[in-house]
Amino acid sequence: MVNSSVIRRSWLIVPGYERAPIEYIRRYLPDVLVLDLEYTVPPKRKEEARANLGDAIRGLAQCPSEVFVRVDWKTRWCDVKAAIRPGLKGIILPGPELAKDVTEIDEFIADCEQQTGVIPGSIELALILESARGLWNAWNLSRASPRVTALGLGRVDLTMNLGPDPQGDFRIYPYLMSRVLATARALGKQPLGAHWRRGSRGGVDSPERTLEAAQRARYMGFTGCLCAKPEQVVPASQGFTPTTDEVSRLTRIQDMFEQIHKAGQVYADIDGRLYDSSKVQACRNLLLFAQACSRKDTDKALYGKAEVKQ
């Protein structure tokens, strides 16, 4: 089932030390802005990045992108502590392997919420699975805290050293995607990931390949992915959005089915395909999702324009 209330297709990762992350929103309009304390921040700038989060999150108060912080597994406690404050939507936690990893973070977040006056239980958790152990335990991890709202497949091609197979997929990667998808959907979490293939360095890939990876991932059931480069935001959002062709086809199916349904028939033959009410329901869901995407994009575009005028 598509949840049309939350549109989080592109998650742009920006180094946590950036003084004006708002610029990234104005220019690239990601659905989610991720202030990073992990990969993009070299060791010598970690402290600076943590100290910068307060101003950064305050500065993003009125923007149409939701704000997450990605913490570093190795320094997750002080990272989480530095991140939690009003305005923060959630934490991206890469690398959990056991349910206990998640419950411990959950409890720690609760303490931080209390200390900073953030509504208790409001900080979300997006789990990014990056190891075989984490993937093996995906189900238990996702159930370990009610804060978990998203489950993602991380850089497993790199962390698990999965080379490509003759078809161009990284070894067992489609299976891992399926596993994450089924787990996420079964538990009502957003499935995050893109279908990266041979020759790709996923998070830092070109806009063209990002579009392909996102489109394929959408057809596989995913609804968003992380972007390490700003240039990936537009193709990622686009790839996870139904195309205009799809929308007009779906609209046509919906309209034709309604007419046929009114005429008392249960099946409709539309363009050589047989539709029944459940198939048409799937079309309606997708249309609702497309409409929500379009509303989100309109909001962001208005914001972008208003900001430029100032």
């Binding site: 921040v41 850089r155 050293n161 080379g163 197979d165 003759p166 078809q167 070894r171």
Partner: protein, 322 residues
Amino acid sequence: MIRVNRSVMFVPINNPRFVEKAWTRGSDAIILDLEDSVPMSEKEKARALVHETIPKVAKGGAVIFVRINKEFIKADLEAAIWPGISRVILPKAQTADDVRLVDALLTSLEKERGIEVGAVEIFPLVESALAVANSYAIATSSPRVKVMPDGWGYDTSLDLEIEMFAGFDQYVYIREEPTLAEIAAGVEAMGGPYIPGTTGKVDQKEEGKALATALHDAHIHESIILHPALVEPLVAGLAPTTEEIDWARKVLDIYERLQQEEESVAEVDGKVIDIYEYQHAQELLEWAEACAAKDRRKAIAVAKALSEQEPASGPSVNSKQS
């Protein structure tokens, strides 16, 4: 030490011709087979051959494994576990208990026969639906399990009524689920990727090359083979190329410089260099070194065997050793 078993070649122990020639094939590892190669009526005779066969097939520097019968675990191990055997292939492992039984028997045989306790590995074959379902339990059943295959193969196909060579990948779950379980358990997963167009022929050099390329690309270091024609493509194809080695050295260089500057990412020749590439480069260089060392050991063994051999009486060595 990194184990280098690029080609793991089956040798039917009951066939003297194959046994005599086995050391000349250049394989990294040889499996003395007591299972499918041996008819039921000859099991006892085959068992009795293991002890004297080990030095014969090891002459070319290969490490020697034995495949036992699931039905005769005790008798086979009694007959087969001698110094020189470094791995037991356990067919049709169904549960963790199957592996634990072999583990316990190995421990007592090792003590009895002067082998370091724990030295002999167990390689459980995943050959049934039950084994696929139990793959995590099997992978974690004993510290002797270091490497494991996936569920692809004739026996699983039989168990699940799968047509093996249908021209498409009908093994997704039974290959990938054990693979994930094994990696999660800290065991090396040596199951290969799906290769389109496989006909089931085991003696084709070209298919051997395709197999080696596919395994190498997928970063898999080991393959079991049924025919000596596949030894050379695998031994050559699973070792890193000089281009890969050069690039890995460059990555180490650049990344170490980055670290000195307390940076973590750089882009060189359009390629990202970071902690992941650094780790891969390190692994690749270690693997390259291990392969080269194995090749040297084999070359020395072959030279020694040839010098001890009476002129013109033995088989000629037809594989390249460098």
